[in-house]
Amino acid sequence: MLSEEDVASQVQALLAEKMFVKVESHETDLLAAGILDSLTLVQMLMHLEERFGSRVAVEDLEIEDLRSIHAIARLVTRQTRGASFSMHGVGHGAGAD
């Protein structure tokens, strides 16, 4: 099982590879830095689902869950450790869009 810090490093790499966004620190405020808007947020959630194999329930998300790489890593870790994860994801299936 990946540690939260490992996940954070992978999220940082994913942002660079898939979205061409270089984030200096795991604590950088992605909103204040102008990196996230509704479109990039959806793209990022889809990449996270693809990379970590868990779907993200948009209706349960709060912006704080996505505010920094550290927050995103915490979210991913929480969800991948969850025994059951029933949700409407962003990129897949019925009601997921």
């Binding site: 909103l31 204040a32 996230l36 509704s38 479109l39 947020l41 709060e62 912006i63 009601g95 869009d97």
Partner: protein, 383 residues
């Protein structure tokens, strides 16, 4: 920035909920509209929870509701949800339209999640979901929905110029540069536009009066419209239910601007059309022209061309300067072209959720059997 982050973090404890518009939120909606004004979004959230067009009434299967994204008493976004039965080659299913979605995320990135939450909420209510009439590929909502895997298609636009002079003097959509305005005015005042319009009309119009259908004005739709509906319902891969009860809701007799036409082939009712004859005033596209539009129509595909022909003759006799129509189905498009219309650039988009896209792909992967026009979605607004 620090203060904004603190406020955001405090607000995030409250969470954003999507809920129906209730009366106590009227003030918060007005405040939201005020905050959104600088974003110059071409619409606001209606400041009443009851749709003036399609209120939710007992026994009515077509209605609109407004849902709000609320955070601790503040409205952060909204959308209008239209529920309506559709026929998929004769199979009747309820379909939702997500209309006028708007999010405070446009002006404040702290609310970037509102857009996805709104779409997700609409999908939870109805996975078979579409949007119609989104005016730009670059609009935030278009980009968001396509990023979420929705499919975008263009509903073709057709137009026919009747009075070249007034067209060239008023068509604001084309009079965009000083040179174009000068050129259009020169052509108009030299009388070339009238002559040109006549030449184009003569060259393009291929309908003759032989075997032509006739049109009769009607006050409302009744059993004859039901017969047309039952005849046509399995001849299109997707179309909104258009029986008499639905048509009388969409085009009520009390709305005098709607011209309801029953179209005859001899004594047989071949179909119907709803047309508008609108005198524009300072319109951003049409200036001060008199615009005739074929808003909605239904007939068997083989009768479509002549139903269009009869509808066009009604509008031309009324003296319109320009005729317009958006039609998705090729037979209706061909009918318009036979009546002298030209296909123009269209910004009338049809965007479908993954679930609806999958359903359409099962039966009509090329989408050539879909019958949509300005009678769908938001209805004939701006016409």
């Amino acid at each position: 920035m620090a203060q904004a982050q603190t406020e955001s973090r405090n607000m995030s404890h409250v969470g954003i909920r999507i809920q129906p518009f209730t009366e106590e939120l009227t003030g918060a909606v007005a405040e939201f509209n005020r905050r959104m004004r600088p974003a110059k979004v071409p619409f606001g959230v209606p400041e009443t929870g009851v749709s003036s067009w399609l209120p939710k009434l007992d026994g009515r299967n077509i209605h609109q509701e407004i849902f709000l994204a609320v955070e601790g008493g503040f409205v952060r976004g909204a959308y209008t949800f239209k529920q309506q039965p559709f026929s998929f080659s004769g199979r009747i299913l309820s379909v939702g339209a997500c209309q006028m979605p708007i999010s405070e995320g446009i002006i404040d990135k702290r609310y970037s999640l509102v857009g996805p939450k709104i779409v997700n909420d609409a999908l939870r209510r109805q996975p078979l979901l579409y949007g119609l009439g989104i005016g730009s590929r670059d609009a935030a909502v278009t980009r968001l929905l396509t990023a979420m895997g929705w499919r975008l298609t263009v509903i073709p636009f057709f137009f026919k110029v009747r009075h070249g002079f007034r067209f060239l003097r008023n068509i604001r959509y084309l009079r965009t540069t000083r040179f174009r305005r000068w050129l259009f005015d020169v052509v108009a005042y030299l009388g070339l536009a009238e002559a040109g319009a006549k030449i184009v009309e003569t060259a393009l119009t291929r309908t003759s009066s032989d075997g032509a259908f006739s049109a009769e004005h009607v006050g409302e739709f009744s059993s004859w419209a039901d017969e047309v509906w039952w005849r046509c319902r399995d001849r299109y891969s997707m179309m909104a239910v258009r029986d008499a009860s639905v048509l009388n809701v969409l085009y009520p007799a009390a709305e005098t601007r709607f011209i309801r036409l029953r179209i005859f082939d001899g004594r047989r009712v071949a179909g119907w059309a709803v047309v508008l004859d609108s005198v524009m005033s300072g319109d951003k596209y049409f200036g001060d022209m008199r615009v005739g539009s074929i808003v909605d129509c239904l007939a068997l595909p083989e009768d479509a061309g002549r139903v269009i022909g009869a509808s066009v003759r009604v509008l031309e006799k009324r003296g319109v300067d320009l005729l317009v129509s958006n039609q998705s189905h090729p037979v209706w498009g061909r009918g318009l072209k036979r009546a002298g219309f030209i296909q123009g650039p269209s910004n009338f988009f049809f965007i479908t959720s993954k679930q609806l896209t999958r359903l359409l792909d099962e039966d009509d992967p090329a989408g050539v059997g879909i019958h949509l026009n300005r009678g769908d979605g938001d209805g004939p607004i701006h016409l």
